[in-house]
Every structure is written in structure tokens, then in C-alpha cells.
């Protein structure tokens, strides 16, 4: 068990579910930038994690993780050093993340993506869903939605994958795989947030599955320089409108908006299909 009961996470928190995957890594050490996970991990003098955790400056996670991994190697100590980042941390660490991928730093980056800066009150982030309402985009997000995992894969690193807390067995398999490889490994986990998105706490896993089923979140892997869309996503059949309108942050969407989003999703799908053929 990684996360101890009686922690500060909201009811139905997807990050709390995601933490379970760390159990499947040998000798994990987790590095934590500012975000929901920081607070869930516990306030001094208490920790809610059973594994060693180092809190680091907000934009620094990938690099501190790499430094830690080198320091341990020099002392002859084996460990799986995990940079546990939110999508907010990704935005502010972007150049460090890219630099880390470029150097093929020997770390595992797990991004728990709740599609907003939720910890500070649900402000818009790079991965916030198209047209979603956040406190800094009260009428709906105008910017594009960033596909970080794809950009990491283009650095030609050993392993990149997307995952979802709706499909824990798939996520755990991917984490196990990453734990057995070396070099820069990146897993981007979709984490629907009841507090931030506006849905009942009991529906976190259901919402995550709906997202994958209607292709708003696509599961794929990049390994040995090959892209592979997962079977789950290939077989996915779901109602996009149902997924979007069941969240407070998106229920204002017009039919025109939904059509636009449908096209964007199809474009992403096509891009991945093309990459798979390479």
C-alpha cells in the first residue's frame, strides 16, 4: 500500500487511485512538485506515503529526479526514481522536461493529469480540455489542448505511454514495464477530478472509462520506436456528448462546440493511426 488511509484527498480523488501503481515498482522513490499530490502526501510532521518522498521546487521535478538518480548510482544504490507530476507541473517544467527527454535521463515521469491547476482552485492548464470552464477561463478555454505524451515520444525515448485511472490493470502493466527499462520513461495518466470538473465523487472511474470509450482520451504506447494504440482504445465505442455534458465544466457546450471537439478528437486519432503505421 502506497497511500495511507486518512489522508487529505477529496472523496473520489483519482490521484489516490493512481498512487497504487507505484506498488509495482521495485525500490521506488517519489519526487513531488507543488500540486494536489503534495497536499495528499501529507503536511509536516506527517506523511501519508509509505515510500520515501522528496518535495521539490515546482518547476524542477524532472531535473532533481535525475540528479537523485545519479547520486544514488554513484553510491551503488539501485532505485526507481519517479517524478510524480501534475499537468500544472508539466506546464511550468516544460523546458526541463524536454531537456530531460533529450538527455534520456534515467527516470520515470508519471503525470497525473486532472486537466487543470486544481490544487490552486481549478485554473486553466495546457492539458485542460477544449472549451472547458475553469476559474481563469470562466467562459470556456480558448487555447488548444496540449498532447504532452506525443511530444515526449518525438524525443525518441525508450518508453512513453498514456493511461487512465479507469483502466488500472492497463496502467499497472505499463508501470511494471517502465520499471524494467532504463532511460527516460514517461506515462501520462488521465485523472478525472470530481471536485474540479463537477461530477459526483462516486463517478471518477466511470468518467475515466467514458473518456477512453468516446476517445476523448486515447490509450497508446511508444516502445522500441514504434507507436501502438491499445486494444481498449481500438475497441472503444462511446457517446462523446454524454461524456461532455455530464460534467459541470463542459455542460455549457453547444452542439456546434461538440461537433468541433469531435473533429479535433478525430484528428488526434488519425494522427496516432498514421504514426502506428510507420
Amino acid at each position: 500500500m502506497i497511500l495511507l488511509r486518512g489522508n487529505t484527498s477529496c472523496q473520489g480523488c483519482p490521484h489516490s487511485i493512481a498512487f497504487k501503481a507505484l506498488e509495482y515498482l521495485e525500490n521506488p522513490i517519489v519526487l513531488m512538485p507543488a500540486g494536489c499530490s503534495t497536499v495528499i502526501a501529507g503536511l509536516h510532521p506527517n506523511s501519508s506515503l509509505t515510500i520515501p518522498c522528496v518535495h521539490v521546487p515546482f518547476p524542477s521535478t524532472p531535473s532533481v529526479s535525475y540528479g537523485l538518480s545519479v547520486g544514488l548510482k554513484r553510491r551503488g544504490i539501485r532505485a526507481n526514481v519517479v517524478a510524480w507530476m501534475g499537468d500544472g507541473s508539466v506546464d511550468i517544467s516544460y523546458s526541463l522536461l524536454a531537456g530531460s527527454a533529450l538527455r534520456n535521463d534515467d527516470i520515470i515521469v508519471i503525470v497525473v493529469d486532472n486537466e487543470a491547476y486544481v490544487n490552486t482552485g481549478v485554473q486553466s492548464s495546457g492539458t485542460t480540455f477544449w472549451k472547458a470552464k475553469t476559474t481563469t477561463s470562466p467562459k470556456g478555454k480558448k487555447e488548444e489542448r496540449r498532447n504532452v505524451a506525443l511530444q515526449m515520444a518525438l524525443h525518441r525515448v525508450p518508453y512513453v505511454a498514456t493511461a487512465s485511472v479507469g483502466y488500472m490493470r492497463d496502467f499497472i502493466k505499463k508501470v511494471k514495464k517502465a520499471g524494467e527499462l532504463e532511460g527516460f520513461r514517461y506515462i501520462h495518466v488521465h485523472c478525472p477530478c470530481p471536485s474540479g470538473w463537477g461530477f459526483e465523487s462516486s463517478k471518477t472511474v466511470e468518467m475515466a472509462r467514458k473518456a477512453v470509450q468516446c476517445k476523448a482520451w486515447i490509450l497508446w504506447e511508444y516502445e522500441n520506436k514504434k507507436f501502438r494504440i491499445s486494444k481498449i482504445s481500438k475497441k472503444a465505442k462511446g457517446d462523446l456528448k454524454d461524456y461532455l455534458l455530464s460534467q459541470t465544466r463542459l455542460k455549457h457546450l453547444s452542439d456546434g462546440d461538440i461537433e468541433e471537439i469531435k473533429r479535433k478528437i478525430e484528428e488526434e486519432w488519425e494522427l496516432l493511426e498514421h504514426l502506428e503505421k510507420l
Binding site: I29, P52, H55, P59, S60, G67, V70, G99
Partner: protein, 366 residues
């Protein structure tokens, strides 16, 4: 063994002897040759260290932060804009109570744009909890860097070694490469490894935060004794936290730090030849501030600064917490170099009681 070395290369030679586990630094003028020399040493297998090519100074210090948290020995170097870019991490390292050494090739801070020497960059570290040293020569840069690893690891605080940009970094002098070995590393207050059963630096509210800064401040004070001891035990002693130059019977005292102290000492000799009893207290450390040494001064005091805060020079501000009624000259910014004659002019004006204002921003330079 003696070698003709620039200040930068002298530091690289000292780092080689210290045998760090990891070096991560981003190039910035006038620090670049420290890092280039170290990269060469690593590639030539003269130095067994991990050399990380980072994409920014923020990354450089973050990588070192990670490595020293795991118990490794780390080094980086920077200047000016680079120091300011990694500033947040400087606080994190000091607050985490971890040892490391950083060389700072002191340089002006924009705007307006300037790559030349003054002390405006290194003074921003004053509040963070770092030990800050300033050297006068390439030899002292070599010696202080070696001592820095030892002192830093004993008090578990990071140590910045400052040397004047261009004036010391790019001019060469004969440096004695000492046959010196650093002692085996003492165990740190903590290290993180897979078997560790704790979280580090979690959100810390209220009284423990007060305690954190208090303990850091206390240990920074205690580092004075460590600095003095390490200096005495070293093959050559510089005087501890400060160096006294012709101070014994001085009626007029100049307080300064950095490379230009060499030229200032020559100016002191010129005035001494004319019968004026003038001497210098050269500050080797800005933090911890050599309060006792400054308190002991008995005479009229002039502080000459190469950086400012508000209307005063930074050393002027620091010294005025101990001594009142001092004169402060602020000059030498952005590569404006003063030679012996310039200092003779300044000191003459001072001893002739012609400095009417408490703070004078000095423009006259050859």
C-alpha cells in the same frame, strides 16, 4: 606544483582535487572556462564525475539538488542572470540543509545589458542562508574552493565562492596547486534512499518553519568557527573571515571585498609612504558577516562597494549595522575598473576629510 592559471582554471583545478560526484552547469560569461575545463577533465578521465549538459541554470542547480539529496558531492558555477534564474533553487538547497559548492564569477545584472564585472549578482544570496566568500586572487580562488567543500559539508550549508568577473576569471597568475586531499565525507544529517522511511520538505506550517530558519541562522553563525579553524589548519592562512592589511596602527580604515582589493592595497602603500596611517580590512566572507572583526575596528571607516541596495552600497549597509558614522563610496559597476591611481584619489579625499556626503557614487576613473 606551480602553474600559470586564470582564476577560472584555478577553480577547476581545485574542483578536480575535491573529486565531486557530479558537475552540472550552464555556460554564462565570464564563468564559461570553469565549466569547459571541467568537461575536458572528465572527458580525459582526469576526473571521475558525471558531467551533465543542462539546458539552463535552473536545471543545473536542480540536478545538483537531487544528487546531494542522495548524498553525492556536487558542484556548479554561474554568474549574474544565471544566478538569478536558479535563485529559487538556491533557497531550496540552503533550506534543505545540504552541502555543495558553487563558484560565482561576479558580474553586473541587467537591465541595462552588461556582461562585465561587479558584485551585484552575488549579493542577492545574502538572505538565502548560503555561506558567501569573496576572493582577491586566483590562488585564493583555488584555496577557498578546496576549503569550501570541507566547510560546507561540516555545517551542512551550501557555499558560494565569488571571484570578480574578467578581473580574476580571465587574468592569469602563478598558482600553487597544493598536494591536498579532502577528508572522507562525514555522514549528512539525512540522505534519501529506497529504504528511507520519511518524506522530505513537506508543507511545513507555523512554528517548525520558524525553527527551520532559526537553526539555519544559528548554524551559519557557528560556521564562523569552522571557517577560522579550516583556515588555520590550511598550508596557508588568509586570516579567517577577514584579512588585515596594515591595520594595526591605522587611523583610517578601508573596508572592501573582492579582486580590486589588490589595487586598493597598492594605493594604501602609496598613502603610507606619505605618512598617512591607513589600512584595510578585507572581508573574505559576506555571509556569515564578520561582525566581531568589524566591531573591533578603531578609526575612521570608509567602505568601498561594487554593488548597491537602495541608495547605499551593500557592504556599506552591512557595516553600518555595526559601525555608525561611516563613509561609503559606490563605484566600479559593469566592468568599470579602478586602478591604483583611482584608489589613491578616493582614499586621499577620504583622509583629507573632503567627503561631505555619507554616500558618494564615484564616477572618476582613468
Amino acid at each position: 606544483m606551480k602553474k600559470l592559471l586564470t582564476g577560472n582554471h584555478a577553480i577547476a583545478e581545485a574542483v578536480k582535487i575535491a573529486k565531486p560526484d557530479i558537475i552540472a552547469a550552464y555556460p554564462i560569461t565570464p564563468q564559461t572556462s570553469i565549466v569547459e575545463k571541467l568537461a575536458e577533465m572528465v572527458e580525459n578521465s582526469e576526473l571521475d564525475a558525471e558531467f551533465v549538459r543542462v539546458e539552463s541554470e535552473y536545471t543545473a542547480l536542480s540536478v545538483i539538488l537531487g544528487a546531494i539529496t542522495a548524498g553525492a558531492r556536487g558542484f556548479t558555477a554561474t554568474s549574474s542572470q544565471g544566478l538569478l534564474y536558479m535563485y529559487e533553487v538556491c533557497w531550496w538547497v540552503a533550506g534543505s540543509r545540504l552541502p555543495m559548492v558553487m563558484a560565482i564569477a561576479t558580474r553586473a545584472v541587467g537591465a541595462p545589458w552588461n556582461i562585465h564585472g561587479d558584485h551585484q549578482d552575488i549579493i542577492v544570496l545574502r538572505d538565502a542562508g548560503w555561506i558567501i566568500g569573496m576572493v582577491e586572487s586566483a590562488q585564493e580562488a583555488f584555496d577557498m574552493t578546496l576549503q569550501a567543500f570541507k566547510i560546507s559539508e561540516e555545517v551542512s550549508l551550501p557555499f558560494a565562492v565569488g571571484l570578480d568577473g574578467f578581473q580574476l576569471t580571465h587574468t592569469a597568475e602563478v598558482v600553487k596547486i597544493r598536494d591536498y586531499e579532502l577528508p572522507k565525507r562525514k555522514p549528512l544529517p539525512y540522505t534519501i534512499e529506497p529504504s528511507s522511511n520519511f518524506a522530505l520538505n513537506a508543507v511545513t506550517f507555523g512554528i517548525p518553519k520558524l525553527k527551520a530558519r532559526h537553526e539555519q541562522a544559528k548554524d551559519l553563525e557557528k560556521s564562523k568557527e569552522v571557517i577560522r579553524r579550516v583556515d588555520k589548519e590550511f598550508p596557508v592562512s588568509y586570516g579567517g573571515l577577514t584579512e588585515e592589511y596594515r591595520l594595526d596602527d591605522a587611523e583610517y580604515i578601508v573596508v572592501m571585498m573582492g579582486g580590486w582589493c589588490g589595487d586598493a592595497k597598492d594605493a594604501i602603500d602609496v598613502l603610507r609612504d606619505k605618512g598617512i596611517q591607513i589600512g584595510m580590512l578585507r572581508l573574505r566572507f559576506l555571509r556569515p558577516f564578520p561582525r566581531k572583526e568589524v566591531e573591533k575596528l578603531d578609526g575612521k571607516i570608509l567602505v568601498v562597494d561594487r554593488s548597491n541596495s537602495d541608495y547605499r552600497g551593500v557592504l556599506g549597509l552591512e557595516v553600518s549595522t555595526v559601525k555608525h558614522d561611516i563613509k561609503n563610496v559606490v563605484t566600479g559597476f559593469g566592468g568599470m575598473e579602478l586602478d591604483t591611481q583611482d584608489f589613491v584619489k578616493i582614499f586621499t579625499k577620504f583622509v583629507n576629510n573632503e567627503m561631505k556626503k555619507d554616500v558618494e557614487w564615484w564616477y572618476d576613473s582613468a
